[in-house]
Structure formats: structure tokens, C-alpha cells
């Protein structure tokens, strides 16, 4: 079992590079493809959907709804099965 951390990618926001979790589209146990939307996040100017960089099974949602997350922090963990 190879578990990968999915981190908040670079959003480019100057104000601390932080976004708030709005809503998770997936639950632990869900099988997903690379590119599937994982969650929606909010910054001051838009909602962003964050796609999965890998295919696999969701192991753990690390960031909670309404939580503020910095760029580089872990959002969730995915078992890529390799």
C-alpha cells in the first residue's frame, strides 16, 4: 500500500497563500481517477476545485470543512496501490 499526501497546490494568492475548505466531494473509501475533483476551496476572489494528482482510493480526509489551509499543507491521503 503506497499512501500519497495530497497537498494544497500553489494558488498564487498573495495574502498568505491560504484557502479555506468549502466542501469535500469525496469520502474515505472512494475510488478516484487522476483529475477527479477532490474538494472545493474558497479564497477571497473565487472558489477553486482541487483535482487529484493521482488515481487511487481515498484513505483519509485530513483538512476539515471550514478549515484554513496553507499552500503545501496536506489536504487528504490517497492509496495509489503501487
Amino acid at each position: 500500500m503506497a499512501v500519497e499526501d495530497v497537498k494544497l497546490p500553489d494558488l498564487g494568492e498573495d495574502a498568505g497563500d491560504m484557502a479555506r475548505v468549502a466542501f469535500w466531494y469525496v469520502d474515505p473509501g472512494d475510488d478516484i481517477e487522476s483529475g477527479d475533483e477532490l474538494l472545493q476551496m474558497l479564497t477571497d476572489k473565487a472558489t477553486f476545485d482541487v483535482p487529484s494528482p493521482v488515481a487511487g482510493t481515498i484513505v483519509e480526509l485530513v483538512a476539515d470543512e471550514d478549515q484554513e489551509v496553507l499552500v503545501g499543507e496536506v489536504l487528504c491521503r490517497i492509496d495509489t496501490g503501487d
Binding site: D10, L11, Y25, L42, D44, K45, T47, D49, P53
Partner: protein, 304 residues
Amino acid sequence: MSKASESATARRSPFPPWLRKRVPTGGEARRVRALLAELRLETVCSGAHCPNLPECFARGTATFMVLGDTCTRSCRFCAVPDDPPGPPRDAEPEAVAEAAARLGLRHVVVTSVTRDDLPDGGARHFARTIRAVRARLPKAAVEVLVPDFEGREADVATVCDAGPDLFNHNVETVPRLYPAVRPQADYRRSLDVLACARRLADGRDRPRFTKSGLMVGLGETGDEVRAVLADLREAGCGIVTIGQYLAPSKAHVPVARFVEPGEFADWESEARAMGFAAVAAGPFVRSSYRADRVYGECTGGATA
């Protein structure tokens, strides 16, 4: 997305569903950021919290912002801070040219903060930057997005003499909303700046077009927007961009209305019918969003 998540999204997000972006994974963003940091360059993308930044940086594009990252005005729509600015950096024009070359840009956009503290408003710094970029990238299109130089024609001429392909100056909003949105600016003065640049192009091959942009969703009426478009045409403006105003913070002017994508499409048709050579209208459109493609529309794709 399932129905359940659609309604949950509607409850949680302050933005309408069409104001949603996908964060691109991969692409050039990391390289762009590293390059900007190395050359100590600012972008309006970052300074103004543009929601298109991840997309544009991933494409390897950015709009350089020169003359510092703080502004001598306090426009109520803008995220750029209004702290006292420092002296212009001598090496900056070359640094912009270096960055543009290393990014392999074919269309280079340079903007600035407003520098009312400088006698020429930064016009010579713009001119040096245009020339530095031209020297490094002779085939690139150069677009400048300038402040109003407090209406001084000599400073507009300084910029135009350096030969930018596109001279962009934003009117930003309709005249009635200037006191609330852009209190230190003047609508007529901005139109005069555009008309001046257009006049200076007579008998020369540059600037090829003048360009202006406005934000909607600030409380303007359709007729007011129509009147601005007509004024821009009368000033000889060839390109217009129209995008949704988004408030950078609670201290800025609040969003009056989220304009629907269909309405932007209507503005685009109307503007084209008024004779603009190119129009970009959409919720996330900004003055230099995909500037290369917008310019390509005017030139029939015949850009370098």
C-alpha cells in the same frame, strides 16, 4: 457533481457557480514563481490577487508590475496596498526583459502601480522597460497597461515614443461610480489619455491599438456601460475587456451584483457591433487575461 454536493456548494460558497476555477496541477507555475523571485520582479497577478493567476502561471505567462508593489492612490476595488513607494529600481527594465526572454514570451505585458510622487509618473521607466524588452525579444508584442499620468500628454508621449504595440489604460467603471470606486481618478481624463495615445499613433505604426477595461457588478446600469463603450469608441479605443468585479476584502467596495455569463456574452456582441477590433468579456476576464489571444484577434492571428 452530484445534486447533493451542488446544493451543499450553494450553501457554503459566497460565489455563484460560474465563478469556480480549477487549480491546474503541473504546468509552469513553479518555474514562473522562482524566476520572479530570482529577478525580484512583481506581478499584478499576485499583487491584485487575480483568480486567474494559477492558470496564467501554469501557461508560463504573467503580467509584470513595475515601479514597486505599493501605490500612491487608493482605488477602492484594488488589493494593491497604498503605502509610500520607494525610488524606481534602475535594474528593473532589464530584469523584466530577462524574465520575458527566459519565459519565452511572445507577448509581454507590463503594468505599474500609480506613481503620482514621480514628476513623470513613471513614464520614462515604462519607456526604458519597453526598449529593454524590444532589445531582448525583437519579435515579441509589447503591451503596456499604464496609469493616467494625471493627464500629462508629455508623459503619454514618452511611453508611446518607445513603441509599444498596445497602449492599455483602464477606465475601470462608469463615471457615476468614480467617487466611490476610483476617487483619485477622473473619467474624462482617462478618456483623454486614450485619445492622446491614439492621436500619437497617427503617421506611425505604433501603438497599433489602444485598449481599455472595465469591471461590472459595482452597481452600474446597462445604459451606463453602453455609454462608456461609446465613449471609448469615440476616443479611438480599439480593444475592450469586461470582467466581474470581485472584492479583495471586506474593506473594499462590496460586489453589487454577480453578472451572469450570458450577459457578458451580450456585452461582447454589442461591443463588437460598435466596432471594437477585439473584445473579451466574461466573469474572469481581466485587462491582460490571455492578452496574446485578444491581440491575435485584432491582427488576424498574424502576431509573431
